[in-house]
């Protein structure tokens, strides 16, 4: 074998292996930028306390099962403008603490096992908002259609978890337990 042919073979081998590496790297992450996160703290007979954020970012590393999600507080929209103002100024203090970040892991995550049928996984991690961190353990339902992942779930938090005090005057209008609903759609990156 002459030297030129040899280098050509080595070169093409290197090129193919690099290509494989870049493909595998490219596919190990799924990203969603328009995740929907809703929370509700309504009490019967009072005006619903409910807000929705439709621009939540979520990233899943499919090789490790790590998941990270970020929601900007100012993007939570209430039907009532005054409620939105109070949420930002008095409770969540979004000027000082503009975002909520969740970092965790999906236990026993395996991309190969996903299908169009929803499968339950356990997620554990920490949610940081209003300068406080809280451990969250919750089941989520994950399905896969084409190159898209769908992740749904709900969990409960309380204002005390994050050092948010509710004034006495509105205490009976806001539920003690706040329900958080997530509805994420991710695409292979």
């Amino acid at each position: 074998m002459d030297k030129r042919r040899k280098t050509r073979i080595i070169k093409s081998f290197l090129f193919i292996s690099l290509l494989c590496i870049s493909i595998s790297f490219a596919q190990e992450k799924y990203i969603g930028k328009k995740g929907i996160l809703t929370f509700e703290a309504s009490e019967k007979a009072f005006e619903p306390v409910k807000a929705k954020n439709e621009s939540v970012t979520v990233i899943i590393n499919t090789t490790t099962g790590e998941i990270a999600s970020l929601a900007l507080m100012k993007e939570f929209r209430f039907r009532n403008a005054l409620m939105e103002e109070h949420f930002n100024e008095n409770y969540i203090e979004s000027d000082t603490y503009p975002k909520a970040i969740f970092k965790g892991k999906i236990a026993a995550f395996d991309l190969q096992q996903l299908s169009e049928k929803e499968k339950e996984f356990k997620v554990s991690g920490s949610l940081t908002l209003h300068g406080k961190e809280k451990k969250i353990d919750t089941p989520v339902l994950i399905s896969k259609v084409g190159d898209q992942l769908f992740l749904k779930g709900k969990f409960i938090v309380t204002p005390q978890d994050f050092d948010i005090s509710i004034p006495k005057i509105v205490r009976n209008k806001i539920a003690k337990n706040i329900q958080v609903f997530i509805d994420f759609k991710l695409k292979a990156k």
Binding site: L82, D95, I101
Partner: protein
């Protein structure tokens, strides 16, 4: 007669007060497109002033109306990316009428920095093509 005057007067006060409270409780959401913008600059200058001092930047611009000119580098659903690092979510307009490399000016509300995407986010925006 005097008694009647007092009665009418207090009734008017009561109605005015009720109307005021009602308006306060049910006030409208901000109309970002109708507000005066606090800053008018290019998207690249906006992003570099963020990287220069993140804390100060947030204190200055969070929740403020900003007007930014830049080049469209991506279109995703109802969002437009300006110069790769600013995500602009449109309010009513259709993003699909735009295409990459369009020079546009947007007006919207700065809502914060997304650490995961490493992008600044603007919402409730309107745009004009230059």
């Amino acid at each position: 007669m005097k008694k009647k005057n007092i009665l009418v007067f207090s009734l008017i006060i009561a109605i005015a007060l009720t109307a005021f409270v009602f308006n306060y409780i049910n006030k409208d959401h901000r109309d970002i497109s109708a507000e005066k913008s606090d800053v008018h600059t290019t998207s690249t200058a906006f992003f570099s002033s963020f990287t220069a001092n993140q804390k100060e930047f947030d204190g200055q611009y969070l929740d403020k109306v900003v007007e930014l000119s830049g080049i469209v580098t991506a279109i995703e659903d109802n969002s437009v990316i300006l110069d790769e690092n600013i995500v602009v979510t449109l309010k009513d307009q259709d993003a699909t009428t735009l295409s990459n490399n369009n020079k546009i000016t947007i007006k919207g509300r700065y809502v914060g920095y997304d650490d995961l995407l490493e992008q600044l986010k603007i919402d409730q925006a309107t745009f004009t093509i230059k």
